[in-house]
Symmetry: C2
Subunit: 201 residues, 2 copies
């Protein structure tokens, strides 16, 4: 709960709104008003960008206990990129409104905490940039599948090639070709609508 | 001068070190210790990352009056990416040491200012990510040449295809091919060791 975090900064009595979103619901898109800080109480949010052709690229995921800054992007000057936030599984979110958040900006310790989070997100985005620039696609797909296995808590994943392609900003054909290659390499087994990750992969 | 910025936050008497770097000097690499905040007094810094193969990709440039946060990355937890900072032309930098910067972290207005800068950098990196993912290479090269024309204050640029390729993280051959295409399109003229940008490009 966000209260536990705020107490570290001697902040109390902040009004908090609790919301629950079904799996797949879009919490935020560039057309939405700026709502405030989202704190993930349970579940998982996926933050992504969209290409003109409608392809999605995941920037990062927010797990339980993590704070989403982009949902409050209006309080950070200079942010003008188009971000989408989706509930990847059923998720409960605590929301601190913009008005309340502005008050917290007088608290240097809390602002430094926000600063650290911003740096962490920057880190994740640079990691992704690195991946895109230099990693071979097979490594990117394998990394993605491992992450997915943790979320689904299973090494047998129910996932389409289309969905993997959307995540990684590539074409379905590329994903199918690479998965086939990974199967030949004995890192996974392809089944109808499923992918079984093998040990050591 | 950074003093002008600090005065906005009622901050005075901060010891500041002034340094001048020749064109092309590397101010910071991942092996260097964390030095403090760099403020660009005159000139231009280029912040870039390096691939395992040694290719450079420019993240952004810092012009006069801008603050470099990555030179103080040790004060931001969670930053662990490898950043290089180069003086793109002769540049004079004011440095606030880490110890002094830590004191400034008690000042909420200043920390919010740093937060805004962090958001701006994030913006620039996301723009780059966008460029890499979706823009056509000809547009990227043209954008880069226009930026270069502003820095060199001339539309006749002394620049090699190799250097353009390094900036954009691509191969020299790709750059040569695209420049040829842009020439056919009457957006520029290729000369020995030079590129002449034409009007409207």
């Amino acid at each position: 709960m966000i209260e536990k975090v705020l107490i570290n900064y001697q902040i109390e009595n902040i009004p908090i709104e609790v919301r629950t979103y079904e799996k797949g619901v879009l919490l935020h898109s560039p057309l939405d008003a700026c709502e405030g800080l989202f704190f993930v109480n349970s579940g998982c949010l996926r933050v992504y960008i969209l290409s003109p052709e409608g392809r999605e690229v995941t920037l990062y995921r927010l797990q339980e206990g993590e704070l989403c800054l982009f949902s409050a992007s209006c309080v950070f000057q200079n942010i003008n990129f188009d971000i989408y936030i989706e509930a990847e599984i059923e998720s409960t979110i605590e929301v601190i409104s913009i008005a309340e958040y502005r008050k917290l900006q007088d608290n240097p310790a809390f602002v430094n905490y926000v600063n650290d989070i911003m740096a962490r997100r920057m880190n994740q985005i640079l990691q992704l940039l690195n991946d895109i620039l230099w990693n071979r696609m097979d490594q990117r797909i394998l990394n993605y599948l491992k992450e997915e296995a943790q979320i689904q808590e299973s090494r047998e994943l129910t996932i389409t090639h289309e969905r993997i392609a959307n995540h990684l900003g590539t074409a379905r054909e590329v994903v199918s070709r690479v998965l086939k290659y990974l199967e030949t390499n004995q890192q996974l087994v392809l089944k109808r609508g499923k992918i079984q990750l093998l040990d050591e992969s």
